[in-house]
């Protein structure tokens, strides 16, 4: 059944958040964008007035959003539909100290053990501690090659958008939908709208993918892409490595986008080649041809469009309590009177929480904690940049710095390349893989009242610990600030 047969658009469920675009889903003769192509390739049923039954190629599982889903299917007596499309690991509530097998928090321990035993019971591949593969769910998927172009990927975690870097349609879902996919391999979904974001130009010295995505979020706001999937295009995107693309796609959710993706190219194929779950040699060429079909047609339409010029982009740091409240280093926190009334009220509250003032220059603000890690910036390229800056230098005595590799594989690379020794010599704490200090769900928390400069993705009130203050930045900016003991640009070091 083609989309053109759907005569009546289902009623809009909300003004800004959930909307359909039946006209743009098009028949074979219409130019389609990559979102529409992946959508059309995964719709199982199209019934007028109903959401689509939509096939999910891969679901990743972690311990926080899976227990109740397993309970649901077991209560209903439903078997897991296809365990070979599921992959589980433990990351959010796990300790990052050396003796992490001992989980002191009873609830966290129960959560981890529950996932371990559920995977065993239902025959779901599980990446446990010391398997060589455990880590943050959005780091390990790509590493293993399970994330591939043209796929639909979900996980009970909003940063599932990370996998969009491979040209997959990847989005976060709640625990109930996790259960739906476990039971049926499908979800009920309405087709999202699409937004094109073009990154023009090239990065200056000391400026990175993290700064680019923070810039976008600052421009369009935390709800700016609600109801949309973003396709990132442009010369700057094509020049990015896969890890840089993952950083960009990861934070798509922070401007309200369901998902963000980048059409695959040679960079993508080269990254995937030879990975454990990538297509084998005999199927490789055929797979690449199939993957190449997931690119937007030349005249494809989008519901919204934004252009960001990177040529003049400076390192960016957040000052407030959402990822859009940011400035370039060297600029001042905006004047409250220049803001719209609604934004002003939010800003007043934010500045009270972060103990800053309007018009204040962020650079030079003292920090007590520095965190490098997370699904946004916890990969080997991120840690190499940090090591390059820390080499031969010392973390400021007033700063506690955690460097947390995104996975056991990343940790091993760090050890092979001697990065771990650089971190330790500088006085940073190089820890075991996990989500760690990104969110206060495990032992790694920023103490109350302390200020942390962080390579993670959210600076909400209390995100890294009750009454803690978070400043989001690139790993390079985090490293430079850790040395200086205050927020500062990495440009002097790179």
């Amino acid at each position: 059944m083609s989309a053109a047969a759907t005569k009546k658009a289902p009623e809009k469920a909300g003004k800004k958040s959930v909307e359909t675009a039946p006209e743009s889903s098009g028949s074979g003769a219409t130019a389609k964008n990559i979102v529409q192509k992946i959508w059309d390739a995964h719709v199982v049923t199209r019934i007028e007035g109903h959401p689509n039954v939509f096939a999910i190629d891969l679901m990743l599982l972690h311990e926080v959003t899976s227990a109740q889903a397993f309970q649901l299917i077991e209560t209903r007596g439903i078997q897991v539909f296809d365990p070979t499309r599921l992959l589980a690991t433990i990351d959010h509530s796990t300790p990052t100290r050396q003796n992490r097998w001992e989980i002191y928090d009873e609830a966290a321990r129960t959560q981890v053990e529950t996932l371990r035993s559920n995977c065993k019971k239902h025959n779901i591949p599980f990446l446990d501690f010391d398997s060589g593969k455990q880590g943050i769910v959005h780091v390990v998927g790509p590493e293993l090659g399970v994330t591939q172009p043209g796929m639909t990927i979900v996980c009970g975690d909003s940063h599932t958008s990370t996998h969009g870097a491979f040209g997959a349609l990847a989005f976060g879902v709640g625990t109930s939908e996790v259960a739906h996919v476990m039971a049926t391999g499908c979800l009920l979904q309405k087709q999202p709208q699409s937004m094109k974001v073009e990154f023009k130009g090239r990065f200056r010295r000391g400026v990175y993918a993290k700064d680019a995505i923070l810039k976008l979020i600052g421009e369009i706001g935390v709800g700016g892409a609600n109801g949309h999937v973003i396709e990132y295009v442009g010369e700057a995107v094509r020049a990015m490595s896969m890890e840089e693309r993952m950083t960009v796609c990861n934070m798509s959710i922070e401007c309200g986008a369901r998902a963000g993706l980048i059409a695959p190219d040679e960079t993508t194929f080269n990254y995937l080649k030879g990975r454990a779950h990538a297509p084998c040699a005999e199927k490789w060429d055929e797979a690449v041809e199939y993957w190449k079909s997931f690119a937007s047609d030349e005249n494809a339409k989008y519901d919204k469009s934004v252009v960001i010029d990177l040529d003049k982009l400076e390192p960016i740091v957040t000052w407030g309590t959402n990822p859009a409240q940011s400035v370039s280093l060297g600029e001042r926190i905006p004047k409250l009177e220049t803001m719209a009334a609604n934004d002003k009220a939010v800003a007043v509250r934010a500045l009270e929480y972060t103990k800053l003032k309007e018009q204040q220059v962020l650079e030079g603000t003292p920090v007590e904690w520095a965190f490098v890690g997370s699904c946004t910036n916890g990969r080997i390229e991120d840690l190499r940049i940090v090591a390059e800056i820390l080499k031969g230098r010392k973390v400021n005595p007033a700063v506690t710095m955690y460097v947390v590799p995104g996975s056991e594989a990343v940790m091993k690379r760090c050890q092979e390349e001697g990065l771990d020794e650089i971190f330790c010599a500088a006085g940073a704490d190089f820890r075991m893989p996990g989500c760690s200090m990104c969110l206060a769900m495990n032992d790694d928390q920023v103490p109350p009242g302390k200020r942390c400069i962080s390579s993670s993705n959210r600076n909400f009130v209390g995100r890294q610990g009750p009454d803690s203050i978070t400043h989001l930045a690139s790993p390079a900016t985090v490293a430079a600030s850790a040395i200086a003991g205050c927020i500062t640009s990495p440009a002097q070091y790179v």
Partner: protein, 202 residues
Amino acid sequence: MSLIPKVTTVTSKAMPVPMKDVDTDLIIPAQFLTSISKDGYGANVFRRLRDNDPNFPINRKEFDGASILVTDSNFGCGSSREHAVWALTGAGFKVVIAKSFSDIFYNNSAKNALLLVVLEDKVVDEILQSAKNADYEVTVDLESQTVVLPDGRSYKFEYDQFRKHCMLNGLDDIEYIRSHTADIQEFRNRQEQQRYMTTRGA
């Protein structure tokens, strides 16, 4: 068979939270997510806000029993944690009225019979103002898709018809999807030729 609570008409005093971009970390902080149960989150809904402000509505006795929450725009942004919805329903909320909602939160709410109502900005602003004294009783009716204010004025809200049918009848998605098992099987068989990924052996 009703698998989730049914939603029809809710009449209650409205509790105003006049903040935009309320994220799910604010609704339920991560430290409370280590439970493997679906219950018990209600006691910690808005934990950061209620701990820091004695006048936050949940802390005020006058708002006890309120089952309609009213807020600003982009409610429920941030993390996909469905625990945010469980915290709201656990605390007794059956309806949230706002100018807009985040996508993931919107989907999660429908799975738990939490009715999300989008009204025009100026109407929401009026309710936020009027509801401050905990004596502003509002009726929300899903069947007629109306919100009725104390003075009798009523406003229609849009709502997806399929979702409405599920909410009125307490239906969840699993049985609906499973009713299409033959289609799903056929789809998967066709797709098998271009399947290049299995997690087997991981």
